[in-house]
């Protein structure tokens, strides 16, 4: 069972984000593995183990040939990576990105299951999993909080507004997993050392058989017309708890007539 996982390398969320002059996100710092994707990597490693082997292959698109985030996921236990990096990709929207990822999955070869997060932490469109599935002609089982493989099928518990549904499809398929459903392992020292020598297949847009006009600003077919500051919300009263602060809250609740 070969399982591919989408991993995004994003600007460190601990550093306040800013926009470049072209209104795209400033990605100049060294990107790190999106926390959201650590769950997908862990899920893929567990599923590969349970299915009796096979490779876990990382799929990533990042500027400047970034590999730091990939090395983190390789150190967790993934076997290899396909990394798409190309100046032509700047400004790509979700559909263009999905086209790139679908081609990269095909290039990875022999993939039975593609695992993704539900959305990235920086762009968070939340459309890529189903877009990639549509491009590949695969079923998509989205918002999974539990995943099982067996008999050429994948079965998930899909998060719903009021609980969950059990959803099944045959392989190959795409599964998006919600955060918090598995505990991502910490890379071991041995894992970190091994990751340095694991293969990263670095490719360009042309290597994937896509035209530059299908990606980047041209492919995105949208234009940012304005960027402005939102009205700020002002801070109100701030009290130190001296053991009695709960009474101030009770008062406030009474004023609002919620009690």
């Amino acid at each position: 069972m070969n399982i591919a996982v989408c991993v995004k390398q994003i600007p460190d969320p601990a550093v306040p984000g800013k926009l470049d002059a072209d209104h795209t996100l400033d990605r100049s710092g060294e990107p790190i593995l999106d926390d959201s994707d650590a769950y997908g990597v862990e899920m893929a490693l567990q599923l590969a183990d349970k299915s009796g082997g096979g490779e876990v292959i990382l799929i990533s698109m990042a500027p400047g040939g970034a590999v730091k985030g990939l090395r983190t996921a390789l150190a967790m236990g993934a076997a290899r990576a396909v990394l798409v990096s190309d100046d032509a990709l700047a400004g790509s929207d979700s559909l263009s990105t999905a086209k790139v990822i679908a081609k990269a999955v095909e290039r990875a070869g022999g993939v039975d299951l593609l695992v993704t997060a539900t959305e990235s932490s920086d762009g968070y469109t939340g459309t890529i999993p189903a877009q990639v599935a549509e491009l590949l002609g695969w079923p998509s089982l989205t918002f999974a909080k539990h995943v099982e493989l067996g008999d050429g099928k994948v079965t998930i518990q899909r998060q719903t507004e009021n609980g969950y549904d059990v959803v099944e499809a045959s392989l190959p398929a795409v599964v998006s997993v919600t955060a918090g459903v598995v505990e991502p392992r910490y890379p071991s020292f041995k894992g970190i050392m091994a990751a340095k020598n694991k293969p990263v297949d670095a490719v360009t847009v042309a290597d994937l058989g896509l035209g530059n006009d299908q990606v980047g600003w041209t492919g995105a077919r949208q234009q940012i017309t304005s960027v402005g500051a939102a009205p700020e919300r002002q801070a109100g009263e701030k009290v130190e708890d001296d053991g009695e602060a709960y009474q101030r809250i009770v008062q406030y609740l009474e004023q609002l007539k919620v009690v």
């Binding site: 939340g126 995105a220 939102a230 701030k238 009770v250």
Partner: protein, 321 residues
């Protein structure tokens, strides 16, 4: 060519349209001459009255059987759009809405704009407003190229206001063959009993963050206070990521947007990720140990203190009343 015909991808909450659907119809009614809905589900007749009241004249109804609705919806929409040429399709940024819109964008080879919180028509342009960086920056983006324009709008972006339309006429559309995408079947449905209101619709929301210390503290602190105030309980991303509570409780950029009358943040520092989901609340109370926590910058009442002391005392006081 102006934007004259807008479609809304309708979703249901039992036998009534979802609130997010009514919000989209209310906004689209201002913008469009013709407003129609597309619904993937078995009970379209039950929804037609309310959909009509909110402005939809027609609802195209597709019964997905036991297939996941998103992929079936995308296949049906591709054919219906070819036939009826709407200028725009609006979906809620929901589980099924995202699935349908994403697949449709590939079928039509059109970009999608997602996480919209604003919507405006300027001549033949449709402009989608989004809020980024924790909601402190507003961005307008317009579609280039040909209609239909495909947009996903976050729930709670517009008020749901009924109009005076009569029931929408239901047009039953045969279930399309969605190919392998249609293979994803729902085998079982598990409905978890919920006490009190839904998170997005509650007048009071009480959320917990890392500062509550453990998964075990969520019930006695967060759920308990929410219950006393007849509200709903929510969570920051940190404790969803830690597996303390399910994703459906997450408030924030990658979770739900709430705009209650009162939001109470317990042990939440106020990462930008969280703030964007709750800063539209009418009133905000925050309790946090760290006096420098960013949440205090937007709280109407901030209590610098230990949630494990303040909240039990508060709960006792409310129970005594």
């Amino acid at each position: 060519m102006a934007i004259s015909k807008i479609w809304v991808f309708a979703e249901a909450d039992g036998d009534t349209p979802a609130t997010s659907t009514l919000e989209l119809l209310s906004k689209a009614r201002e913008l469009a001459d013709t407003l129609e809905a597309v619904y993937v589900g078995a009970n379209a007749d039950a929804l037609a009255g309310t959909l009509g009241e909110y402005g939809a004249t027609t609802v195209y109804a597709i019964d997905p059987g036991d297939a996941l609705p998103g992929p079936i919806g995308a296949a049906a929409l591709e054919a219906l759009i070819g036939e009826h040429s709407p200028d725009a399709l609006l979906v809620a940024q929901s589980y099924d809405g995202r699935d349908a819109l994403a697949r449709l964008s590939v079928k039509l080879d059109r970009p999608v704009l997602t996480n919209g919180v604003g919507l405006r028509v300027d001549g033949d342009k449709l402009i989608v407003g989004t809020a980024i960086f924790g909601g402190n920056t507003l961005v307008d983006t317009e579609f280039e190229g040909e209609a239909p324009f495909l947009a996903a709008i976050r729930p709670k972006s517009f008020p749901a206001e009924p109009g005076s339309g009569s029931a929408a006429s239901v047009v039953a559309v045969p279930t399309p063959d969605a190919g392998r995408a249609g293979e994803a079947k729902v085998l079982e449905r598990h409905v978890e009993e919920r006490e009190g209101p839904k998170l997005e619709e509650a007048a009071v929301v009480v959320s917990g963050g890392r500062g509550i210390g453990s998964a075990e503290a969520y019930g006695p602190l967060v759920d308990e206070l929410a219950k006393l105030l007849q509200g709903a309980s929510g969570a920051s991303r940190a404790i969803v990521d830690a597996g303390w509570v399910p994703y459906s409780k997450q408030v924030g950029q990658t979770g739900k947007v709430v705009k209650p009358k009162l939001y109470i943040a317990l042990g939440i520092s106020g990462a930008t990720q969280h703030m964007v989901g709750m800063k539209g609340s009418d009133n905000i109370i925050a309790v946090n140990k760290d006096a420098e926590a960013p949440i205090f910058g937007i709280a109407d009442l901030g209590v610098v203190g230990d949630v494990h002391k303040v909240v039990p005392a508060l709960i006792e006081a409310l129970k005594a009343k």
